[in-house]
């Protein structure tokens, strides 16, 4: 008994990738709590009064716990499930829509995130930092919008064609850094970073063009996708739940990615290239082809994420589509890092980050704490994940003898 308990303790305190990730999560939420505490006037006032009496001190502690607890509770109930409402649905059989809405929302947001993150993760595993998933996703959305809103066909043809157009849009943007890196050695980080802005400008440009602009509109708003090009709600329109067939697309992508990385010959080439590019070349792997293919796959998945977002959730494009740091493409980088670039890990981290986003909105509505706190927590978590030794030091973890260390690294600029 004590032997097994000791072993259990040993495992808990020995550094493993999973444990480091969990600890990083804890630290991320601690950072979030600190941010709430230091920026909420009532809490600060309570702490200012702490020296006057024990009661005031206790009050400050109590208030802090209340405020942070309320925020995180609102986040959880907004993203996963509200036990009270759920229980009500179970006992009365009524209100299932309301009870399942949080989960449905999280899954809705997670679907494109999973797809884009897997694209970023495959690139990472090949040693390539695709920072341009956002641009690729935007052009995927634009291409999908053309196909989805300007063409009219039966669903069986139209939906696949729309998704294919989205993939093609992402591939086109991905090919630019891919070809430039393969043939001129241009560093993909700089090229993809710059292309994000080029594509964002291009988005506005196309939205203002008469072809795609919503008729009768002066603003940068596109036509709405034809119903035959939309990803229908998974449980039917009558369910009132937004979760749509995009989730099924994401599931297919996960299965594909697992097979690709673990079982396929091309995936093996990718992994060899990522682990040792020179050895890859010497062993007959065509480095240029791999680089271009990585960007085709990574860009294509980002484009697919863009069109899944469009066809499943928003149904039309506007100037704010995926723009800024809230963009799927940027979140995908952090999601992929958190999931250690592996398909299954990415599924979990996508669910977590989608939940943080959805729950953040619920938190803002319930407590007034801005939803940007979710971004802060996400960034902090990834900073800690990228610095495993720091986490190890904070939690005083033992160094495992032969830990299968995943080093997340890009090369320097050296073009």
């Amino acid at each position: 008994m004590s032997e097994s308990r000791r072993r259990w303790w040993h495992r808990l305190t020995t550094r493993s990738p999973l444990l480091v990730t969990l600890d990083a999560l804890i630290l991320g939420f601690v950072v979030g709590a600190l941010v709430i505490i230091t920026t909420t006037a009532s809490v600060l006032d309570a702490w200012r009064a702490m020296f006057s009496s024990w009661a005031a001190f206790a009050h400050a502690c109590q208030l802090t716990a209340d405020v942070v607890g309320a925020a995180y509770r609102a986040m959880f109930t907004g993203a996963v499930v509200n036990p009270r409402i759920f229980w009500h649905a179970v006992t009365t059989g009524q209100g299932w829509t309301l009870a399942l809405t949080p989960l449905s929302e999280t899954l809705t947001y997670a679907a494109p995130l999973i797809i884009a993150s897997i694209g970023v993760g495959i690139a990472f595993q090949t040693g390539i930092f695709n920072i341009g998933a956002n641009g690729q996703a935007i052009l995927g959305g634009v291409a999908g919008a053309y196909m989805g809103s300007l063409v009219h066909l039966p669903t069986v043809v139209h939906l696949p064609l729309t998704l294919a157009a989205g993939i093609a849009g992402g591939v086109i943007v991905g090919l630019v850094p891919g070809l430039l890196k393969a043939y001129t050695g241009a560093h993909e980080v700089i090229v993809t970073l710059m292309l994000n802005y080029v594509v964002a400008a291009l988005l506005i440009f196309t939205l203002l063009s008469t072809v795609l602009q919503q008729p009768g509109q002066q603003n940068d708003i596109s036509r709405t996708l034809a119903p035959s090009a939309q990803l229908a709600p998974l449980f039917g329109a009558a369910s009132g739940l937004r979760v749509n067939w995009g989730l099924a697309v994401a599931a297919l992508v996960v299965v594909f990615a697992w097979w690709f990385l673990e079982r396929s010959s091309l995936g093996f080439d990718f992994r060899v290239t990522g682990a040792n590019p020179q050895a890859a070349r010497a062993s007959g792997i065509n480095a240029r082809a791999v680089i271009v293919l990585v960007f085709v796959i990574s860009g294509g998945l980002a484009g697919l994420a863009g069109i899944v977002q469009l066809a499943g959730t928003t149904h039309y494009l506007d100037g704010g589509f995926l723009i800024g740091n809230a963009g799927i493409g940027f979140t995908a980088i952090t999601v992929s890092l958190l999931g250690r670039n592996r398909p299954v890990g990415i599924v979990w981290s996508s669910l977590l980050f989608a939940g943080l986003g959805v729950g953040g909105r619920a938190m803002q509505a319930a407590t007034g704490i801005p939803l940007d706190l979710a971004t802060v927590i996400q960034s902090a978590v990834v900073l800690f994940v990228a610095t495993p030794v720091l986490v190890q030091e904070i939690f005083r973890l033992r160094h495992a003898a032969a830990a299968g260390e995943v080093r997340l690294a890009t090369s320097g600029w050296g073009s």
Binding site: S264, R271, V272, A275, R281, G284, I285, A402
Partner: protein
């Protein structure tokens, strides 16, 4: 300066690189530390130079114990080091490199370039080391870069100079020049610690030789000690430097190079109109000082570097400018020079590494999906056939020793149907046991009719293995000779003197 090391011990994890090393260098003495690659010489020198901190033991200069927090401290106490990989900033001028860390300045921290130049001219003249202070280092030939390193040490008033394998990149003539410099420095009272594993040089230049094996001092001997004695001290048993092999029975030419020109990364012709023929059933050894185009030549043969002009054929088939994949598929086995960089993927499993250059070949994959059972089966049979010591075929390659990693490459290459084997520095960094093993495998393959091209900068290896020896200098073949040719003659060819034995 009198340098004394007492009981220096340095461990890296479980490995003890230096185990209670005692050593004394007298003023004006050239003291050689002789040992195999991996014996702990470089670690010891890094300890003396303050780059590593000893776990135990002390360093005394003129009887006074020293503690070096970093190499700057060592430099300030009068120790200078010429590193195997030069510690020079390529884009800086000679003057900037020499004064770095000890810059003369005028007001406001402004670099006093005039004074720097003057200091360097002064030191140059004093020790007869001519070099232009305004030249950019990366534009200088290797021999001159080394001179800059020596100048840098002397400019910091070094009284003891550490030279770490200084001859590895030099031509025989440059080596002679270096030895002359070393002698004159010693004559002017400087102490010199000379690190080497080359017996001839050691005997030619040293006053005292300390032999190190597996981190321990084995013996201290005078330089007049015979080569075979030194060699056996180094490796710990009597070694035969010759490989036992029957006479070759060469067949038709398999690998043919006609007038091949290859450019290096800077766009210069590194391989300059080279023609070579490797016949079935013979070993052609390519000798030469490192950096004379051998690397580029091999890269061109295996398809990793474009061929500017000329023709390469493999078994009659033109492979000029072919991709590595098609060259490998047409029956070329390649044991690369830098195995960690080009031959292996340390984070992948032994099994994956054993199919690294043919992952799509049946039965390892079918229609783009890998057959992991076949990959494992292949690995298990190769591991037992080639005696690769590993806990499991699924273990990451990084868990294997250097010799076993090299065996993985050899096993992988020799388990494919081959016409020709190209091996670059196949035994670099290996222990004696592994060297013998690799040599035996190579000779066996040649006996079975394989054409073998060995590239090595170790003259002993070249002479022991080669059925014919081609010598390369400055991108050209200066001669193709019989292995019975004298070392002196081969040395001359390595220095660029064209021989009579040219094909």
């Amino acid at each position: 300066m009198r340098l004394e090391l007492r009981g220096i011990t340095k461990r890296f994890g479980t490995l003890t690189a230096n185990d209670h090393i005692d050593l004394t260098v007298e003023p004006g003495q050239i003291h050689c530390v002789l040992g195999e690659n991996g014996a702990g010489k470089s670690t010891l020198m890094n300890v003396v130079f303050g780059l590593l901190h000893p776990d135990d033991g002390e360093i005394l200069i003129d009887g006074v114990p020293q503690r070096f927090a970093n190499s700057g401290d060592a430099v300030r106490r009068g120790i200078g080091m010429v590193h195997q990989h030069f510690m020079l900033v390529p884009v800086f001028t000679v003057a900037e490199n020499v004064v770095l860390g000890f810059e003369p300045t005028s007001r406001l921290g402004r670099l006093d370039r005039a004074r720097a130049r003057q200091e360097i001219r002064h030191t140059s003249q004093q020790f007869n080391l001519e070099v232009d202070p305004d030249a950019i280092v990366e534009n200088l030939p290797v021999g001159l870069q080394q001179r800059v390193e020596i100048l840098k040490a002397l400019n910091h008033d070094a009284e003891l100079l550490i030279l770490d394998e200084p001859t590895a990149v030099l031509t025989p003539q440059e080596i002679d020049a270096l030895m002359a410099i070393m002698r004159s420095l010693a004559a002017s009272g400087k102490s010199i610690l000379f690190i080497s594993h080359k017996l001839k040089e050691v005997r030619a230049i040293s006053d005292v030789v300390t032999v190190i094996r597996q981190g321990r001092v084995v013996d201290q001997v005078p330089p007049t000690t015979g080569e075979s004695t030194l060699a056996s001290l180094m490796v710990g048993r009597d070694v035969t430097l010759t490989v036992s092999k029957e006479a070759a029975a060469p067949g038709a030419p398999v690998l043919e190079l006609d007038d091949v020109v290859v450019r290096d990364d800077r766009g210069l012709a590194a391989v300059d109109h080279v023609s070579l023929r490797v016949h079935a059933g013979e070993i052609l050894a390519l000798a030469g000082v490192q950096g004379n185009g051998q690397t580029e030549l091999v890269e061109a043969i295996v398809g990793m570097r474009p061929v500017e002009s000329g023709r390469i054929t493999l078994g009659g088939q033109d492979v000029t400018g072919a991709t590595p994949r098609s060259v490998l598929d047409s029956g070329l086995g390649h044991i690369p020079e830098d195995r960690h960089r080009y031959g292996l993927v340390l984070s992948l499993s032994v099994a994956d590494n054993l199919v690294l250059n043919a992952p799509r070949r049946a039965p390892f994959a079918h229609r783009g999906t890998r057959n992991l059972a076949a990959v494992r089966g292949n690995a298990e049979s190769l591991v037992s056939r080639f005696d690769i010591r590993t806990t499991s075929v699924q273990a990451p390659l990084s868990s294997l020793s250097g010799g076993n990693q090299q065996k993985v490459i050899v096993a992988r290459e020799l388990s494919r149907p081959l016409q020709v084997l190209v091996a670059s520095q196949p035994t670099r960094g290996l222990d004696v046991g592994s060297i013998e093993y690799v040599h035996r495998q190579i000779v066996e393959q040649r006996n079975e009719g394989l054409a073998v091209l060995i590239v090595s900068s170790e003259l002993d290896e070249v002479m022991a293995l080669g059925d014919r020896i081609a010598v390369m200098h400055a991108g050209q073949i200066t001669g193709v000779v019989d292995p019975s040719t004298s070392r002196e003659r081969i040395g001359l060819l390595m220095a660029g003197a064209t021989g009579d034995g040219h094909e």
